[in-house]
Symmetry: C2
Subunit: 164 residues, 2 copies
């Protein structure tokens, strides 16, 4: 059985006892989380969220890219969120490498030309989270009242540390 | 107590019984999910995932943007995933509107100039998921062997429907 079939089978079991069909699309706790795609980090559990509480935006590195700002504008403007929590994590694959190293690796391993790709690799996760928080605070697409704070999640201990 | 403090308090309880500090950064089931930030959709539960199983990438609309392709390249190249499941959903705030309407709304409500923002609004979620799957299949940054399939999640019933 392939992954898609496994997921559909698991979903059948989930849907059998599904009882949250009347949740509002607007997040009940009026905030958004921006975090990494990392498989070890489940933002619902890490941050104590219930279904319907918050928007969750995730990409490689928890980077506040243009696409994340797009998502936050939709989150705020259409669905009423008032702040964002940026959560980076220890042991991220984008920490301690450079974009140029990643491009060389892609070329060597797969013959792929990634010269046009900005990978957003970074030296230190704390600093990167602070930069991301700053980018939200300074965005002209969000009001000055929209809050932003930053955290680093330790994948070894399960703990969040505030950093911005 | 503000949101950040509430999240830190919930995290303290989570970390007290945390027992997954030795998970590998490489997803155990070697796939990635691309889905929407929607607060009603918990991909871990919807798709039956355990901690460590899969990468989870999320933005407004489950759109395969350049930033999502960047994340998928990192997911595949650095951490060994072999396929992506794109999961759109019913009742998405980006369905049935146009980017121009969103720009006008932002200007009228908040005086914000979003003329440079592509919101990726779409007429029908099924078609949008199919386009996103196609974009993964055609990306020169991922090998032809990298799989992609598409689903629509029904927020009323909890069910996933395969669409691509």
């Amino acid at each position: 059985m392939g992954i898609a079939d496994e997921v559909l089978e698991a979903n059948r079991r989930y849907a059998e006892s599904f009882a949250k069909g009347d949740l509002s699309p607007a997040p009940a706790r009026r905030f958004a989380i921006v975090t990494c795609m990392d498989a070890r980090l489940d933002p619902m559990k890490v941050a104590g969220l219930e279904d319907g509480d918050a928007h969750v935006i995730r990409n490689a590195g928890a980077i506040v890219t243009d696409d994340v700002l797009r998502s936050l504008v939709v989150s705020h403007m259409l669905l009423g969120t008032q702040e964002a929590l940026v959560i980076g994590h220890t042991g991220c694959g984008l920490e301690g490498v450079t974009d140029e190293q990643l491009r060389q690796r892609l070329a060597a391993a797969a013959g792929v030309d990634a010269s046009n790709v900005t990978f957003h690799a970074f030296p230190r996760v704390r600093d990167r989270v602070r930069e991301s928080v700053q980018r939200i605070r300074e965005s002209p697409l969000l009001p000055a009242s929209f809050g932003a704070s930053g955290f680093v999640y330790d994948v070894r201990s399960g703990r969040l540390e505030p950093v911005a």
